[in-house]
Symmetry: C2
């Protein structure tokens, strides 16, 4: 009887995929372990070619990644970090950029990843139907956005705690007219704008500040959108003295709008963002820092772990740390502000 | 005798791949053309499933994309634009992020794209050996960087003309101590830093300004590198009154270094970048604008064109327009500058 890959795995005390990677010379296995596995395989008379081991294991050594907007800094950074982890472990990435509703609908209808990938990393939040479609693939699933979800390993941050710290910072500085630039026009099942808005409303209520819907504007989570939204907030009857932008890119757009209005930051208007974009330090933006590359790398690592040890189950929901970063765009309101 | 896809193509007056896409319901074919092709196919008794047409044509409907650093704005933007064009035409993207020398070596040794992709888009400049490896795949090749190259469709800009305009702008403002933040530590076969440096030297010589090697610093084409490089330029015996940064991200790093030195821009030091990064407008950076997304989209379109009309050959070298953008980071040198 011929030795199977599982026999080698059992004898070497490692997983079948580690045997497969070791014998194909792929990275992600130390030289010591590789030598040890090769010795066991030789003893048992087991040999494997890439295609043979692929056939035996049903593995494609490819990870499907679905993302909403890879051109945006946040998603590009998450993708870059995840791809590096996959690549180091010998996996290729099949990328699907599902920015438009049509592309997204087509993807979930046809599921072109079926039988082509060993796992799927989602940088977007699937709705219930989409999540069910992904689960039907029968492969490990992970996501870097959204809350806990059946069948998915979710790596994220606590959006409410982060947003609360940003808004409370403005309240504690003495601001009462506090605006928000949000991302309401995004797909409804994206929870980030909802959670950050909830935090905004909670902190205002907690401080006894009446909520004024005129101080909320949709910035579409882009630089241009942030500029448009800030411009809207500057034409209301009593403009805000401080604004919480739900992302650094929208905050940068808001700064551009203020510049065009010849308004000084933070003298006339304070701005706080969310993300700690790599350029936020350059422009001195006060923000809430989250580990963006860290979330991509961690989600990728957890997916690979599930592939190597399927019996261990889905890791569930992992929350990464966030921290408030004070820079130069926030200050107490001016004695005679625009209000 | 059964009708083949080429029979349908000939009868309908379109390419075989258009027939294939039309009959599989993929986008990139108008409804009118699709109906017409379907009618011809029905008349000839031709039917095609996706797998049948894939087998018949040898097509995988997948494009391999190799990139050096997808986490950087330039490459992320090019990739995003190219991916959208591929996706709209019904092609998937297999992404290889070859940032480290090891990953790159492994890719070109094993060529995991062989028989898995219909074409390759390179966002990095292959050396001679790597280019030969890609040509051995026997599929259309395109690149968004570097000069004309055998077997490749290259979409790019004229780096020398762009860099000349940036440096000439500083000379014409009256600067004589003009530094440069470059990217010398990048892989040697990347021609961009070489061409932009050549332009810098030419304009200085043309203006009768002696070249001072102490005014050149390596910024590694990153924000952090630009900050380090500017810091180096500020500790030479006679610091520059103006600096040409070979990329906007390095220019932003330089601005951060100047801010930390409490130096005013452009009063104490002028800075000009290259790219027109989406945030350059926010910070008011004078720069040379190039169509970044445009280069990715154009390269993708030309690759698809080669797939549809292989007999038309390789389009060769396409140059995209650039333009100088004056903003707020450049001005004549101060009467009593740091020199």
């Amino acid at each position: 009887m011929t030795a199977r890959i599982t026999d080698v795995a059992r004898a070497a005390g490692v997983s079948a995929s580690t045997v497969s990677r070791a014998l194909r010379g792929r990275p992600g296995v130390s030289d010591e372990v590789r030598d040890q596995i090769a010795a066991v395989a030789a003893r048992l008379g087991y040999t494997a070619s890439r295609s043979a081991s692929s056939l035996a294991s049903g593995r494609t050594f490819t990870i499907g990644v679905i993302a909403p907007y890879i051109g945006r800094w946040f998603f590009g950074t998450v993708l870059d970090a995840a791809e590096q982890v996959f690549s180091a472990a010998g996996y290729d990435v099949l990328l699907y950029n599902l920015g438009s509703p049509e592309t997204r609908k087509r993807f979930f209808t046809k599921l072109p990843v079926r039988k082509r990938v060993d796992a799927v990393l989602s940088l977007l939040i699937p709705d219930e139907e989409e999540a069910a479609a992904l689960r039907s693939l029968g492969v490990p699933l992970a996501s870097t956005v959204g809350g806990a979800r059946e069948g998915f390993t979710v790596v994220g941050i606590d959006d409410r705690v982060g947003a609360e710290s940003a808004v409370r910072h403005l309240v504690n500085l003495g601001h009462r007219r506090i605006g928000m630039v949000s991302g309401a026009s995004e797909p409804l099942h994206w929870t980030t704008p909802v959670d950050r808005r909830r935090a905004y409303l909670d902190v205002l209520a907690d401080a006894g500040i009446a909520h004024d819907p005129a101080l909320e504007a949709d910035g579409d989570y882009t630089v241009e959108g942030g500029e448009r939204a800030m411009t809207e907030l500057l034409v209301v009857s009593r403009p805000p003295t401080a604004v919480f932008a739900q992302s650094d890119e929208m905050a940068m757009g808001a700064l551009r709008a203020l510049r065009r209005h010849r308004l000084k930051v933070p003298d006339d208007v304070s701005i706080v963002g969310f993300d700690d974009h790599e350029l936020s330090d350059v422009i001195g933006l006060t923000t809430v820092a989250q580990p963006v590359a860290g979330q991509g790398a961690e989600a990728a690592r957890l997916l690979l772990q599930q592939l190597d040890e399927p019996e261990a189950g889905t890791p569930g929901h992992v929350q990464m740390p966030i921290r408030f970063v004070l820079r130069d765009t926030t200050a107490p309101p001016a004695p005679r502000g625009p209000q």
